[in-house]
């Protein structure tokens, strides 16, 4: 299968493996071929024809971007004829391109500018009748057709990587433009990836438009602080107004290899503006002295988590963080079977998979990074993707190949059935085999409401797959039977070629779960909250008794879904106190928070590398050089699979704690550009069951929580489960995400 092809580029002998094109081989060997429309993460657009090369034995030129080399061929990348061709292409691109570089948002990092200068286009011989092409305003995205060069990068990215498939080319020769697909206005998840890939200023961010230029902005490489995907991004800062302090203007990403969702791209201004308040600081020290516990969220860096752990030892307080505690206990159960501390998969593994099972997550909104990896797998490898969830997700419709809709709360049964199908021929040990033999399949099929034929269909579609991944979502983490589900998942990994990715909920849930020894949250008084509720509130959200820095104002590291320790940097200065200052008051003395980076828990796989030694860049060919991957840690595998419990029944009006697109948490809720639609969204069927109508104000109550929301009918939803956003409230991460709830209309 792996065949090597030897050929020559410009007289240099190079080797290609199968699947590589002339362009990729040239790039690997640092031979320059100019391109305009090529983008590494998609299939070649082949629209620009800049990448033409000469091949021996061929008349005319070949496109290097989509032509695989043949044995012994001699490629020339630069000749007078090629240069003439390329200059002509550039001239055609420049026809009627408005000379508004002085004001254009793209000016300064515009491919058209660069290439026009590179090819020294000094004379225009072509012309075309100019036409009126008004600017289209598509919410967060503006499209200026007169600047568009029809490279089609945006369409390819939207379709192949993001999966929205929201834009298309309206063909018409010189009149071609990009239009929203099947609708008048753009209806998509507003990831803004089209803005990122646009080589000219045709697609721009409406919130950024004309506010600053590329050369005025300072770029700070960092890591997105919204979800656990840990996407690399660059914050761009500049002063605001003539006497103002620095402000975040926009976020950019290395679109050649990575993607960013809209929350990362447009939700960057969650910084906490505060000044040093000594009185509040002293109060915080007092509060901590008398505190019984510290409750904190996972939206903190590893270093902060480490300091909290040191404070725990020093002050003898308890540490509450239900999100990370639940995650840790899930991973603990997983380890007890798999013998490894960390899950084996990664986003890259998902991208390369040809078979994926995803369970327990509305992944498109829970973790867009995973969604984009799934889209990439589906579009590029033709991956079979089985989506197991009680609710269909319209966003995943184009990507998944099989929807297995199961009853709410029956995940344990579903995963048992999954393991049963996948491991039917595995060489299990006696106890394990006994577990499967004793499964009451009829009962489980009935309770989960999944048919046997669905699993056989899945097995059939997986038959030829070689790289498989099981993605476990957040629903499972707080499931009553999460421990057994973890063990079953580990069993699948152990006896099959599946790798497993467990999706942590918050940006650093994984890191906190590895660093902190957490206690079960009790409803006690004298709790100091650190970015979480408490009697004394230390918060980076702007409300609280003592202000601390938000994640875009801090140095530190996160652990992402890839088990990768990623550095984050200071985009905006913070004048107030930090957790390190608090620790200093308790004689836990280090100059800087990042001095703790090399002291992070090595038993959990941290490498003891100092923060300043961590790299944060992608190599020219896309290798990820950000931070480091946690060392694999072996642990005892003495867990036993338990018998299945009776499946719980969820009847009546059920709500699912799930954020809308572009929202994740209180920080994204703070940003100016992101939409903040906090409606309870449900299907018509749900409206009938709950006896409410579109636009009604309703009170939702479950457990001890009561929330008031407006109900919105959503035609894309089906069934009797409604979606309740959580970004504007604090959600109890210890509870299963589906809640039996009482919904009352407020008159």
């Amino acid at each position: 299968m792996k065949k090597e092809i030897n050929f020559k580029i410009n007289g240099i002998s190079v080797v290609a493996s199968s699947g590589e094109t002339i362009l990729t081989v040239a790039r690997k060997n640092e031979i320059y071929i100019p391109t305009m429309c090529y983008i590494s993460k998609t299939t070649p657009c082949a629209s620009c024809r800049m990448c033409v090369v000469e091949a021996s034995g061929m008349d005319g030129f070949v496109l290097s971007c989509n032509t695989p080399p043949v044995e012994g061929v001699e490629i020339t990348t630069d000749s007078q004829a090629l240069n003439h061709e390329r200059v002509n292409i550039m001239k055609l691109y420049d026809v009627n391109h408005p000379l508004e570089c002085g004001v254009c948002d793209k000016s300064g990092d515009c491919d058209l500018q660069n290439k026009t200068l590179e090819f020294n286009v000094e004379r225009q011989n072509f012309s075309a009748r100019d036409q009126l092409r008004p600017i289209k305003h598509w919410g967060l995205i503006d499209y200026e057709a007169s600047l568009c060069i029809m490279c089609e990068k945006c369409v390819h990215v939207c379709n192949e990587v993001i999966g929205d498939d929201a834009i298309e080319v309206k063909f018409g020769g010189y009149n071609s433009i990009i239009i929203p697909k099947n609708s008048e206005a753009l209806d998509c998840t507003f990831c803004g990836e089209c803005i990122a890939v646009c080589p000219v200023g045709a697609l721009t961010s409406s919130g950024f438009r004309y506010r600053a230029n590329a050369w005025e902005l300072e770029r700070i490489p960092s890591t997105c602080a919204h979800c656990s995907a840990g996407c690399p991004l660059e914050y761009e800062t500049r002063h605001a107004s003539i006497n103002g302090e620095d402000e975040l203007y926009r976020v950019k990403n290395n679109f050649e290899f990575t993607s960013l969702c809209g929350a990362g791209r447009f939700g960057f201004d969650f910084e906490n503006r505060a000044s040093s308040d000594e009185v509040a600081f002293n109060k915080a020290i007092q509060a901590l002295r008398s505190a019984k516990a510290i409750r904190f969220s996972s939206m903190i860096t590893n270093e902060e988590a480490h300091i909290l752990e040191l404070l725990k030892a020093k002050l003898g307080v308890k540490l509450f963080n239900e999100d990370a505690r639940k995650f840790a206990s899930f991973m603990h159960s997983y380890s007890s079977i798999s013998g490894k501390l960390h899950h084996s998969g990664s986003l890259d593994a998902i991208k390369q998979s040809d078979a994926v099972v995803i369970i327990g997550s509305r992944i498109a909104t829970d973790n867009p990074g995973v969604r984009y990896a799934l889209t990439t797998a589906a579009k590029h490898n033709g991956a079979k993707i089985v989506y197991m969830h009680p609710m269909e997700d319209a966003l995943m419709q184009n990507v998944i190949t099989q929807m297995m809709k199961h009853e709410v709360g029956t995940e344990e049964g579903v995963i048992a059935l999954l393991a049963n199908s996948l491991l039917s021929e595995a060489s299990l040990d006696e106890d394990e085999r006994a577990f499967f033999d004793e499964l009451d399949l009829g009962y489980i099929y009935a309770e989960t409401n999944i048919g046997e034929e669905e699993f056989s269909q899945m097995m059939k579609s997986f038959a030829r797959a070689s790289k498989r991944t099981l993605i476990i979502g957040n629903d499972i983490i707080a499931h009553e039977r999460s421990s057994n589900i973890a063990k079953l998942a580990a069993l699948i990994e152990k006896y099959s070629d599946f790798s497993i990715v467990v999706v942590p909920r918050d940006v650093n849930t994984l890191g906190v779960s590895l660093i902190n020894s957490l206690d079960k949250d009790e409803d006690i008084s004298n709790v100091v909250g650190y970015n979480a509720k408490g009697d004394f509130l230390i918060s980076s959200l702007g409300s609280g008794d003592l202000a601390v820095a938000a994640l875009n104002q801090q140095e530190g590291t996160f652990v992402s879904i890839d088990n990768r320790v990623l550095p984050t940097n200071v985009a905006l200065a913070f004048d107030g106190y930090t957790l390190n200052d608090i620790a200093k008051a308790f004689d836990i003395v280090k100059d800087e928070t990042i001095d703790y980076t090399k002291e992070l828990n090595t038993n959990a796989g941290f490498k003891g590398i100092a923060f300043d030694d961590l790299e944060n860049f992608l190599a020219p060919l896309g290798e990820d050089n950000r931070g480091y991957i946690l060392d694999e840690v072996e642990c005892a595998s003495n867990g036993k699979i338990e018998e299945l419990d009776d499946m719980p029944e969820f009847n009546g009006t059920i709500i699912y704690q799930c954020d809308p697109v572009l929202q994740f948490n209180n920080y994204t809720a703070k940003t100016t550009q992101l939409p903040k639609e906090n409606f309870l969204r449900g299907s018509a069927q749900f409206a009938v069951a709950a006896k409410i109508n579109d636009g009604d104000k309703v009170e939702i109550s479950y457990g001890s929580t009561k929330i008031t929301r407006e109900f919105k009918l959503d035609n894309e939803l089906k069934g009797t489960v409604a979606l309740n956003p959580t970004f504007d409230i604090s959600v109890d991460a210890s509870r299963y995400r589906f809640e039996k709830s009482k919904i009352v209309r407020i008159v």
């Binding site: 004001v103 000016s107 225009q124 012309s127 009748r129 438009r209 230029n213 050369w215 003539i242």
Partner: protein
Amino acid sequence: MHNENIEQHFNNRNVTEINSDYFMVDIADYPTDGWGKFTRTLRRALRGELFVGLWVVLREMIRFDIHTIQYPLEKMPIGPRYRAVHEMKRLWESDAERCIGCGLCEKICISNCIRIDTRLDEESRKEVTEYSINLGRCIFCGYCAEVCPELAITHGGEYENASDQREHFIMYQDMLTPFDTMKAGTQVEFEGFGAITPHEDERVKKTPLAY
């Protein structure tokens, strides 16, 4: 006449040519030993150059056709390239501000004294909302005028800076050419570095049009 001068300047910049007007100044070598230094000190101290200066002043005092300019009643004309307080120019065609808010002046400013803020205005154009030059920091290097792609910011000839606040000279509205001047057609183009070179019209290549 004027253009010819400029052209000569642009064309003949080779100062090393033998027949150019440049020459090396004849300066004696510095003394290296103690005795040399001692004699140089003595020579300088006893030269009586002080009296040369005093004599010049005395001579001018008693002369009648003196060249002293009676400032501020009289003023010297200043060169077209003189770099005094900045001006913001307007377009000849429309009287609109030339500045497009590209921010290059802010970027290039080596003393970090320019700050600009822009936005998308109601007519979908880039509007300069705030513009300031901190004259306390400005070293009048002229880079801002040089980099400006629109010849919008230039240096003017206004060198009489006396006020109790430096900011008084740099109100954006004051820097802008007044409408009266535009109406009278007397806006003066800056001829310093960054200005349009002679024969610019002949060098422009026209874009073909299909219609």
